[in-house]
């Protein structure tokens, strides 16, 4: 099991502008966002909804935004990870980076 310190390296990944992680009770475990509650609501609710239909096959969810700072949700064990993408990075590059990072932690 990865430590929180190892996990926090996520902020250094290419394409990660901000991140937030919530547990199965919607409690924010770690973040680097000014207003974490706003994003936490989405990450938790949508993460749970997607897991309900996709179970372990649920890979990620993307909200595309006009300002290109797209929001990603990844299931991580009993947690949900939310990532706000940098404007300049493509969706699939960020998704690949995060998935590989999470695999490396296991």
């Amino acid at each position: 099991m990865a430590t929180l310190k190892e996990f926090l390296r996520i902020s250094k990944l290419t394409g990660v502008d901000q991140y937030l992680i919530v547990d199965h009770t919607a409690k924010v475990v770690a973040h680097d966002i000014k207003d974490p509650q706003k994003l936490a609501k989405i990450i938790f609710s949508c993460g749970q909804n997607c897991f309900a239909i996709g179970k372990t096959q649920f890979k990620y969810l993307i909200f595309s935004r006009k300002n290109r700072k797209n929001i990603f949700i990844f299931p991580v064990g009993n947690y949900y990870l939310g990532v706000v993408k940098s404007k300049t990075v493509d969706n699939f590059i960020l998704a690949d980076n995060i998935i590989n990072f999470l695999k490396g932690l296991v």
Binding site: K38, L39, K41, I42, S45, C46, N49, C50, A52, I53, G54, Q57, F58, K59, Y60, L61, I62, F63, S64, R65, K66, N67, I71, N91, F92, A95
Partner: protein
């Protein structure tokens, strides 16, 4: 377009500017009642969506597509037969709910993609009740399909990507 007052039944003629996000918002000219209700998608727009579904279905990357209405359920179904209508309703409801949750906090959201196994479900809301969902083998969609999708959505909502 002609809309009837929910209170007195008077006929009201509305300009396009009074139709926002799938809702007719107007004060009745006879009784001054403030109306605000969702109006059904026109047959013309449904035909456009139908044609769009047929156009994209020939692309090898596309598995299928469907149109989901928040109140009435499945409006168009262009998905493979192995999926039951009840499954699509659950999928459509979940995708629409998620989209609305996202938009409640970030109103500038204009598309949502759900990736389950090797299926990519790309959703666009045409109005507050109507979600168009394309299921694809690859992500992102090809430029040709994305352009057609943007054209279709902007025709229906006046919004751009």
């Amino acid at each position: 377009m002609i809309f009837f007052c929910e209170d007195c039944g008077e006929k009201n003629i509305l300009a396009q500017t009074q139709l926002k996000n799938g809702k007719a918002v107007f004060r009745c000219t006879a009784c001054h009642y403030m109306n605000s209700y969702a109006y059904p998608i026109s047959k013309k727009n449904l035909k456009k969506i139908d044609q769009f579904f047929k156009d994209i279905q020939v692309s090898p990357e596309i598995i299928g597509s469907f149109l989901f209405h928040g109140k009435t359920g499945l409006l168009k179904n262009n998905m493979p037969d192995m999926l039951k209508e009840s499954d699509l309703k659950v999928l459509g409801k979940t995708i629409t709910n998620n989209y609305l949750i996202g938009c409640s906090q970030y109103p500038d959201i204009n598309e949502m993609t759900l990736v389950i196994a090797n299926k990519n479900m790309i959703a666009k809301m045409i109005d507050s009740n109507l979600t168009l969902i394309i299921v694809s083998k690859i992500f992102p969609l090809s430029k040709n399909i994305l352009d057609k999708l943007d054209h279709l959505v902007s025709d229906n909502t006046g919004q751009n990507r």
